[in-house]
């Protein structure tokens, strides 16, 4: 068997299957928007407090490749983390499992396929970088090596690590679902913080860039570097001073460091093969289900006498519910949302609720931040459960279900927000604090956002990624405008989030209207 040929065809088939999907075009549009953000100076790198490099090939290449490696290593992970899941869902995996293909080969091929998708976006940004420098008269001529070497040696290795981590997370039973999505966000944050504060080598290449640029800056103007910061800023203050930077000195040591990350990616892919279930139906089930039941153990039905007949059924017209139907649907949606949760989930939610009640008003809002990240995996199922489990045809063929069921899901999500954040809410209400409006706006906004993203994307990943990021930047850091929970009076914007709640709920209705033929 020619392994290179098999690898090529596996990667090619997987790559074509992905790039022919509508979602790929949306992602590509996102990558182009990122390029536009850089071109329009909405995304800038500021060094030493107030410096930026002149927009020559080296600086533009560094800036755009840093955007790639930082942002695509986060969002790219969520984009490609469905490679094995798709093979499982389409049953193609079972065909592959019946071939002599080795597990390590499969995980490596899937890693390369993930990498190909991410590299495609990097290449779009490489082309955009040329256009950007051509449009900017600040520093010419264009040097393709200086412009593209950061992409090749910084962004692409970072994408390879991202691609392999996506495969590893898919093979680990605990990390396969929403938990993995949340864990990756914190892993990504930790990686960047470790590089910035501890000076550790990171996959995104921030450390190697920061050290290199700072050395050049200190040589040019040793007395004027107010601090040693290196920050990638979105929409922040622009630098007031510029300096000439001619790119990274790609000496063998620097290149070796980047190649180590490629090797690390390959290592991660091989580790993933240890956990890969090879589409064994018994191992595809959750461990809880596996312990209790054998997957293919059909009960002894054949030996039983067939006694039941439709003649024993009352086939009289079954009365349908009127007004109370909505309440029953809400109860059903809430039960569905909470089904399968472990006891410890309730224990943590209960502990956070008690902490909100027990702590003083100022602290209870802090506890609320934790309380409203805890149910993220419940909210992320809203609006996409039907497409994830292909139950649309069963549900959407029922009478008067289009908006009834959608609002029943929303109400269930709202109830989860109210129940998990009740402590802080009651504190605010009883003390007559106007911050109660912000709390209520948050409780309305969260399920609305979840429902909108779920119905439009058909996946839980978008909400998990966006909500966690938003939660981290907004409520956790009390950033004005982004704090949807209103954790402090200075950062809360209740009216904005009430409007956003209404807007996102409307967006969910539009999405649902598109899903149902006769809405």
């Amino acid at each position: 068997m020619n392994h290179a040929n098999v690898l090529y065809h596996m990667v090619k088939a997987d790559f074509l299957e992905r790039v022919r999907r509508y979602s790929f075009l949306v992602t590509l549009a996102g990558a182009l928007y990122l390029a536009y953000g850089v071109a329009a100076e909405k995304v800038v790198i500021v060094v030493g407090g107030h410096y930026r490099g002149q927009y020559n090939s080296a600086w533009i290449g560094m800036l755009m490749s840093t955007c790639c490696s930082v942002f695509l290593s986060l969002f790219g992970f969520y984009i490609v983390k469905n490679s094995i899941e798709r093979d499982s869902g389409t049953r193609v995996g079972r065909i592959l499992a019946a071939t002599p293909m080795r597990k390590a080969f499969y995980t490596l091929a899937k890693t390369v396929s993930n990498f190909a998708v991410l590299a495609c976006m990097v290449m779009v940004l490489m082309a955009a970088a040329v256009v950007m420098q051509w449009l900017r008269p600040e520093a010419r001529p264009i040097s393709l090596w200086q412009l593209w070497s950061p992409f090749m040696l910084i962004a692409l290795p970072a994408m390879f690590v991202t691609a392999s981590l996506a495969i590893l997370f898919e093979t680990l039973p605990v990390m396969r679902g929403g938990v993995g999505n949340i864990v990756y966000f914190f892993l990504w944050t930790f990686g960047l913080v470790a590089a910035a504060q501890k000076g550790l080598q990171d996959a995104a290449g921030m450390h190697i860039l920061a050290v290199n640029i700072r050395q050049v800056l200190e040589r040019i103007n040793p007395g004027d570097v107010s601090n040693s910061s290196f920050s990638l800023t979105i929409g922040g203050d622009h630098a007031t001073k510029t300096f000439l930077w001619n790119g990274i000195d790609w000496n063998p040591r620097a290149i070796a460091w980047r190649l180590i990350w490629v090797a690390a990616g390959a290592g991660i892919a091989l580790i993933a093969s240890v956990f890969f279930h090879r589409f064994d139906p018994a191992r595809e089930h959750s461990s809880k289900m596996r312990r209790k039941y054998s997957a293919d153990a059909e009960p002894a039905l054949v030996s039983k006498p067939v006694r039941a007949s439709l003649k024993t059924l009352s086939l009289a017209q079954i009365p349908l519910l009127g007004r109370s139907r909505f309440a029953r649907m809400v109860a059903s949606e809430l039960a569905l949302m909470l089904k399968g949760l472990h006891w410890w989930w309730y224990a943590v939610a209960g502990a956070l609720l008690i902490a909100q009640f027990a702590s003083p008003l100022t602290t209870s809002e802090g506890v609320l931040v934790a309380a409203w990240i805890w149910p993220v995996l419940l909210w992320s199922q809203m609006g996409c459960r039907e497409s994830r489990h292909t139950t649309q045809s069963l549900i959407f063929s029922a009478a008067r279900v289009t908006y009834h069921q959608l609002f029943a899901i929303w109400t269930a999500g709202f109830m989860v927000a109210i129940l998990t954040g009740a402590g802080a809410g009651l504190h605010l209400l009883l003390s007559g604090d106007p911050q109660f409006a912000a709390w209520l706006a948050g409780a309305l906004f969260i399920p609305s956002l979840a429902l909108a993203l779920g119905t439009w994307s058909g996946s839980s990943k978008f909400f998990e990624a966006l909500y966690t990021l938003w939660w981290y930047i907004g409520p956790a850091h009390q950033s004005p405008g982004l704090d949807f929970m209103g954790t402090s009076s200075s950062s809360s914007s209740p009216l904005l989030y009430l409007a956003l709640a209404a807007g996102t709920l409307l967006a969910a209705c539009v999405a649902r209207r598109r899903q149902v033929a006769y809405a």
């Binding site: 439709l310 086939l315 109370s324 649309q392 029922a398 279900v401 006769y518």
Partner: protein, 293 residues
């Protein structure tokens, strides 16, 4: 009770016409919808189940256009799609309770009905097992149960016996026969014996068009005197396949018994009584020959 399909067409892309000027009127009874893969059966079923809209034409339930009032049909509809999913963490009772709520059944009626239906589809013993641990056939039986939850007046079942073992297949056929009272049942399949056993009417679809609509026995005269049994050595089987439309072969001690359809039979053949499968194959071959001509 009447379901009327008037000049219905469905176009997915400019070049792919899944259904073309399809017209059919149905009253109480079981309609067997027969056709080869890709004939347009599932597309028709999806439109009747209000899952997708026709590109042209109208579908009426008791005279009411489902485009203007889909809920009139949905409230009496039971639908078992060809491919459907389940919620793996729910057990059969919880899943059916959820769908009963979506369909608007009150809790007490739903519980009673679910008990009866689980007994009917032989899943009572495993009612508390998560659906994620169910085999394909067991999931299919859950699908059958959900389609019957609201006592449907129009029951649409798309490939319902796929994945069922022989005994469960017979059991399902019996359920369908018992159901054929004051309701319309549309059974889509390519397994002719399923239709033969249950259908009061047959609609034959090929390449998005209605080829025939008749009672099963009415399809047989068309193939009367055209079905033959021929005993040949196995070495001649391939040549026979190239020359004639063969509906069945079986190897026995005296050679291969070939069942073939032809207006002009080869020498040494015996005429045999036609079956519905022969009629089906004959109709399809005539249809293809017509298109080719």
């Amino acid at each position: 009770m009447k379901l009327t399909i008037e000049n219905v067409s469905k176009r997915y892309t400019p070049s792919s016409l899944a259904l073309q000027n399809f017209t059919l009127e149905l009253g109480s009874g079981i309609l067997g919808l027969l056709g080869p893969n890709g004939a347009g059966k599932t597309t028709l079923m999806s439109m009747l189940a209000t899952i997708t809209r026709p590109t042209a034409g109208t579908i009426r339930w008791n005279g009411v256009d489902i485009g203007s009032d889909p809920n009139n049909l949905r409230s009496v509809l039971g639908y078992l799609p060809q491919d459907f999913g389940i919620y793996p963490n729910l057990n059969a009772v919880e899943f059916l309770e959820y769908l009963a709520a979506v369909k608007g059944l009150d809790a007490a009626t739903a519980r009673r009905r679910i008990d009866e239906l689980l007994n009917l589809v032989n899943l009572t013993d495993v009612r508390k097992r998560p659906l994620g641990s169910f085999s394909g056939g067991m999931r299919q039986r859950v699908g059958i149960a959900q389609a019957l939850l609201n006592d449907p007046k129009l029951l649409i079942v798309d490939e319902p016996t796929a994945g069922l073992d022989p005994e469960e297949r017979v059991r399902f056929r019996n359920i369908l026969s018992d159901l054929s009272g004051d309701r319309i049942v549309i059974l889509s399949t390519h397994i002719v014996s399923d239709v033969e056993a249950t259908a009061t009417d047959i609609a034959l679809i090929s390449q998005g068009q209605l080829v025939a609509h008749a009672a099963p026995e009415a399809l047989l005269p068309a193939v009367e005197g055209k079905v033959w049994e021929w005993i040949i050595p196995s070495s001649e089987l391939q040549a026979a396949k190239n020359q004639y439309l063969i509906s069945n072969t079986s190897r026995r001690s005296d050679g291969v018994h070939v069942r073939l359809l032809s207006s002009e039979p080869p020498k040494g053949t015996n005429a045999v009584a036609p079956t519905l499968e022969d009629a089906y194959l004959f109709c399809l071959s005539q249809c293809r020959a017509g298109v080719a001509a």
